[in-house]
Symmetry: C2
Subunit: 279 residues, 2 copies
Amino acid sequence: MMQRCRHRVRSVRVTSDESDTSESGSSETETETMRCVSCLESYESCNAGTCKECYEEANETEEELKRQIEDLKAKVAFLKFWSPIDHHHSRPNGPCFTDVVLVASSDENSSGFAVPVPAHKAVLVSRSPVFKAMLENEMEESRSGTIKIGDVSYDALRAFVNYMYTAEACLDEQMGYDLLVLAEKYQVKHLKAHCEKFLVSKLNWDNSILCYAFAHQHSAKHMLDAALSLITDNMDKLTKREEYVELVEKDPRLIVEIYEAYLSKQVNTAAPKDSSSKS
Amino acid sequence: MMQRCRHRVRSVRVTSDESDTSESGSSETETETMRCVSCLESYESCNAGTCKECYEEANETEEELKRQIEDLKAKVAFLKFWSPIDHHHSRPNGPCFTDVVLVASSDENSSGFAVPVPAHKAVLVSRSPVFKAMLENEMEESRSGTIKIGDVSYDALRAFVNYMYTAEACLDEQMGYDLLVLAEKYQVKHLKAHCEKFLVSKLNWDNSILCYAFAHQHSAKHMLDAALSLITDNMDKLTKREEYVELVEKDPRLIVEIYEAYLSKQVNTAAPKDSSSKS
């Protein structure tokens, strides 16, 4: 983010006639300009930022924060697991000690076969309370060693399992939606937050109504708020959209909530500091 | 670290007669002092730090770094495993899906029994190349599901296994030494660095010679450098120490290395900028 070098600690007092005259405190007839120790450009006193001491302190803070980041990154690298999927591909004969497979049931062909995704019960249990309940309570999945996951592609399932080992996922919009659905279903909060953040960054007027309906369906609060805010900022164009018409047909309560949010925003904007108007 | 609030962005120009007279650039007869927007104290131009723009930029950088730290902390929390040891204690009947046990062989009683520490092969393999070689190559340990660890207490072994799940260890000096030995033996680099950092923080003149010998024995470079530096700073007191006499007896080569480091330091201090003296 920051390109400017702020490690050179230098303070230069420049006077208009370039001569270093009297000590500070006494009256001077020339205009004084300071030179910034960070960008090294001169500035007038009205544009002063910090004193030297605070500048040095801020530098130390920045160094300290960067050290913390390095430590945390090393910790993440240590805690990250090799994913059994990658392991499987790179060393087909090496044992992974996996004790369960996940299967995308929608991927099954006519003979009921789909490519299984190997995993460790311990990892699934550690990352998801739903898998925990499923596997620790000797349910069918635990006995058979196969967990069938409905309504998901093989690619999404692979990415889902991979995330539980590495806390990393390469997202595009479709994958963001798919993984958010899985994250919500299996209560993998960290992944859900990751997908929401990504999808919010991709939010625009064209996808806002679909995003809003999706966020509603999968309890994605952050995404819901962002989509709702975008929609209520563009109410004049709302009723002209195809998705609006479809949603009125399919789930009119969601449309009602949009209007309620819009109304509430208008009231708050009209009288932001008048608390009596809220009652 | 930083106690001062640097979030109030404020720039105040104070003139000696407290009146805001002409615009910047023109000659003024009064002395100008600036007020630091961070600590809010006034300062003379000779103590100027940054301009306002750089101050604001630095603030943004700090906020951004703090956000990164929050993200990384969440990632660490997600990737951390529940340790099978804690799990074992809190829910004795719940399955952990562990597939191997580690035993501190020095803890075995007369009938050959020691309390086993349960673990997952997948975790051990993922954290240590030594365990990886041991478990993936169908050696005795992999077949029997028991790994015997020599010369270690049950407590140290427990802490060792726990670290591989959580990247956390509660250290005192003895535990720091014990875990460093295990980390070196099983090549768990992250733990080794963690122990070294802790032991360096506990380094003092009284333990410096023992630390130096220990660091040498277990290839702890960072600790070795720190101990050596402390010793060569106190050479006048060195030969009076009991540990010195013992080390001369036990491993005189280490003592030679101390003298060599001392000599090299003296030469460098005497002529720090004279490159010809090094050849």
